[in-house]
């Protein structure tokens, strides 16, 4: 297996856009039978490098060698034919077609000039069998979970290309079990001798699956190192170019636990969404919600914020029961909610950073009482500075900002309303390491200034770091409440697994 010649070799590649350098003299070597993680903050040049390898961009300088031969892919299809396939975070398949049709789209087996459906289904079954996936290939792809769709996308890419597989944040929308399933497939492909380039923001996953790590920063190569024995702090400082303070568990003031609860849920639930649960959240407290995807985490937040109507139980604010019938109602009680899906539920893409920041406050004031332009600009500038939002201009449409900066704008939108109670659903998902640390710092800071927070996160280490208490949900039920010394990743995992974890995937 130990082949002297690398599978894919990038030498001295540079790329500039309108005179701005995006990639400078970067080397990258991928061996056969290797999972090679490509890491860096947003804007480090990861996607530019990937797009050069997969033919979406053309390099200005340098060379790309595939099995020793220089290649010049004209476009993505050309790169696929050469043997380089790509699977993106959002599955680029047609979910209304069957699994088999997706696998063979554009290259269907023909018989008398017509698609030979039987042959196509037979071959699809054979292909998926090799991944240990035994599903109905004649069912529409939409019937299956995102994880299975990812595997189908990988199977298609491997079947077409077969030498190099690029996985661009494939795990961003998967839960822990699904990630494990995907990684099993990746490991199998590694055994077969493929070279796999893996891009992810999740360091745990990188340590789990990758053999080698290449770190880019500001368009330059920082280093390529084997994963074995690589210190995490060292890796993070390579990515950031500065030292990051080690993660410590926050010391919690024992007095907050005795205070009167600001928000009390009593038997709050909705059939098919979340079973009735009791929960108190006090000022100066971060309550974490842990659980797998689909365990009822987001559903709980939606009941509290009035997006969905509960069919049982009550919500009290400062001791008074309230009718939480709409987000407007919730906001009038001083609630705020940063949703998980920033794109569809959070940002108003075409509007400027300024307008997005003042948006919730303006909605709360009503259309008759507009904030003046100077008030808007002052608010926007204040939060751009306070949260270190990286934008060239406060009038820039928010859709052009990176994920981390969009998240900060959404936080600013809610902080501008001066809320008493802030709900954050996956506040650090899909954002770069730098913004990640800043958002965690902000959560702790807000809490220390007396705000009540409810935070949902899949990053257990992170939850453990800042939560005063953690509730664990499983199968739409609250199964555990961890306080004090019980708060640890291990306890959360145990709680999730405790009642026999079944029925996760597909």
């Amino acid at each position: 297996m130990a082949n002297a010649q690398p599978l894919l070799s990038v030498r001295g590649v540079s790329k500039a856009f309108l005179g701005v350098s995006a990639l400078e003299n970067v080397d990258f070597t991928l061996k056969a039978g290797e999972v090679h993680a490509l890491l860096g903050e947003n804007g480090a040049g990861k996607s530019t490098l990937i797009k050069i390898i997969t033919g979406a961009y053309r390099r200005d300088e340098g060379e790309v060698l595939l099995e020793g031969t220089p290649i010049f892919p004209r476009d993505v299809v050309d790169a696929q034919k050469l043997g380089i396939g790509t699977v993106y975070q959002e599955v680029n398949l047609l979910t209304n077609l069957t699994v088999a049709e997706n696998l063979f789209l554009g290259r269907q087996p023909k018989r008398f000039g017509l698609t030979d459906v039987r042959e196509m289904n037979r071959r699809s079954r054979a292909i998926l069998d090799t991944y240990g996936l035994n599903i109905d290939v004649t069912a529409p792809l939409a019937n299956f979970s995102v994880a299975i769709q990812q595997v189908v996308a990988i199977a298609r890419a491997v079947d077409i290309s077969g030498k190099v597989l690029v996985l661009d944040e494939p795990t961003a929308s998967l839960d822990a079990h699904e990630v494990e399933m995907l990684f099993a497939v990746v490991r199998q492909l590694r055994e077969r001798g493929m070279g796999i380039i893996f891009i992810s923001h999740f360091l745990d996953q990188v340590y789990d699956i990758a053999d080698t790590i290449t770190v880019l920063r500001n368009g330059r190569l920082i280093d390529t190192v084997p994963v074995a024995g690589l210190d995490r702090l060292k890796l993070v400082s390579m990515m950031l170019g500065r030292q990051l303070e080690a993660d410590v568990k926050r010391t919690i003031d024992p007095n907050t636990a005795k205070a009167e609860p600001l928000v009390s849920l009593r038997g709050l639930g909705k059939r098919g969404n979340i079973d009735p649960l009791d929960l108190d959240i006090r000022q100066g407290e971060v309550v974490g919600i842990a659980g797998l995807l689909g365990s009822g985490r987001t559903e709980t937040a939606q009941l509290v914020f009035g997006i969905e109507r509960a069919d049982s139980g009550t919500i009290s604010v400062a001791g008074t029961p309230v009718n939480m019938s709409s987000p407007r109602k919730a906001i009038s009680h001083g609630f705020a909610f940063c949703p998980e899906d920033r794109k569809t539920d959070g940002i108003v893409g075409d509007l400027s950073v300024r307008e997005n920041i003042i948006f919730a406050l303006q909605a709360q004031r009503g259309w008759m009482r507009p904030l003046s332009r100077s008030e808007q600009e002052a608010l926007a500038d204040r939060y751009i500075a306070a949260l270190d939002i990286r934008t060239s201009d406060r009038e820039k449409p928010i859709k052009f900002l990176s994920g981390g900066n969009q998240q900060k704008v959404l936080l600013a939108r809610w902080l501008a309303t001066n809320p008493r109670f802030l709900i954050l659903d996956e506040p650090t998902r899909g954002i770069d390491v730098g913004a990640h640390a800043e958002i965690i710092r902000l959560i702790i800071d807000l809490c220390e200034r007396g705000m009540a927070l409810l935070v949902i996160s899949s990053e257990l280490g992170e939850l453990v770091g800042y939560s005063s208490r953690i509730i664990v949900l499983r199968d739409r039920k609250m199964v555990s409440e961890l306080t004090g010394d019980e708060i640890s990743t291990e306890h959360i995992m145990k709680a999730i697994a405790s009642h026999g974890a079944t029925g996760e995937a597909a």
Partner: protein
């Protein structure tokens, strides 16, 4: 250098309008001449402003509806209904204020009907407003009892269509007043921002506390009121209510005016000034084609061809091509500059 923002943003519309007016002037040399007779301004330009009143009014309401990612196909039919209501009220002996109030009320009710279907029942706007578009002319015929209801003996209502005030025809006064009112209300309050936000992302807007349903209801209601105003003017102009032909196809002209004015059918950012210019562009075209004396069968084809040219120039594809062209010239400039630096 100090070009007002509004001029900079509407440059394409200004250029198109100028070109069409210039063509009109070539076709009919007296196009720009304006004279005063009986204390009232006359001339082709005044005629453009006057004849354009219904489409302009419809375009104001349509702009707000389109900004919320909706569309209102019923405005032409609402004009017919309101014209019929106004004619039957005035012929039944009601006073002018009562007639106008009744007409506007019916327009408002039509708008609220559309708004309820869209905002409360979540029916797609194109289907929701299609219902009234289809039913509207039938309703108008029921009101007029199948005849053209004339009111030649009611000068007070006729004045709304052909009278003048401050030397300007009444329809011009009315649309300018409505336009200024709409622009002030939308831009001086936060309504414009909230409308644009709903058009870009209704769910995110609702989650941020915007009362999306009320605002959607309001924009369709405004569209109904604008259509009612246009309906009264159209009826007063011909001194009668024609259920079959009043406002026929004008919803299409209004949508075109909005699109030419630079507001996207995908919702979001909108420009009332742009839509007004769009309406004026369409009316200048209509007037120009009439003045040129083309056989009538060519009118619609010529109009369509010119609108096609305008839309091609505005299309994202040609905008991108223009941007590329500009960018490449810039890089060339940068490169020559750096070469000059190197030479030194």
């Amino acid at each position: 250098m100090a070009v007002p923002t509004i001029v900079r943003e509407r440059t394409p519309q200004i250029i198109v309008l100028a070109v069409i007016l210039a063509l009109n002037a070539i076709i009919s040399p007296g196009f720009f001449s304006i004279e005063i007779q009986n204390d009232r301004l006359y001339g082709s330009l005044i005629d453009v402003l006057n004849r354009g009143a219904p489409v302009t009014l419809l375009a104001i309401g349509m702009t707000l509806v389109i900004a919320t990612k909706g569309i209102d196909l019923s405005v032409g039919a609402v004009m017919a209904i309101v014209g019929a209501v106004a004619a039957s009220l005035i012929t039944s002996g009601y006073s002018l204020p009562a007639t106008l109030a009744g007409a506007l009320f019916v327009g408002l009710a039509c708008g609220l009907w559309n708004g309820a279907l869209v905002a409360l029942l979540d029916i797609q706007p194109i289907i929701a407003t299609l219902i009234l578009m289809v039913a509207g002319r039938g309703i108008a015929q029921l009101i007029t009892e199948g005849v053209i209801l004339t009111f030649n003996d009611k000068p007070e209502l006729i004045f709304v269509g052909s009278g003048s005030f401050l030397s300007l025809p009444m329809p011009v006064i009315i649309w300018i007043f409505v336009a200024i009112l709409a622009i002030l209300v939308v831009r001086r309050s936060a309504l414009g921002l909230l409308i644009e936000a709903i058009g870009v992302n209704r769910r995110a807007s609702t989650l941020s506390g915007v009362n999306s349903r009320v605002i959607l209801l309001a924009v369709y209601a405004v569209s109904g009121l604008c259509a009612a105003t246009a309906g009264v003017i159209a009826a007063a102009d011909i001194k009668g209510a024609d259920a079959n032909n009043a406002g026929l196809w004008l919803e299409m002209d209004a949508i075109l005016a909005v699109v030419i004015g630079g507001t996207s059918l995908l919702g979001g950012r909108f420009s009332l000034v742009g839509s007004l210019m769009g309406a004026m562009i369409i009316q200048s075209l209509n007037t120009g084609i009439l003045l040129a004396g083309f056989p009538p069968e060519f009118n619609l084809i010529i109009k369509a061809a010119i609108i096609l040219i305008i839309l091609i120039v505005q299309s994202p594809a040609s905008q991108a091509a223009m941007a590329n062209f500009r960018a490449s010239r810039q890089t060339v400039a940068i490169k020559t500059e750096s070469r000059e630096h190197a030479a030194r």
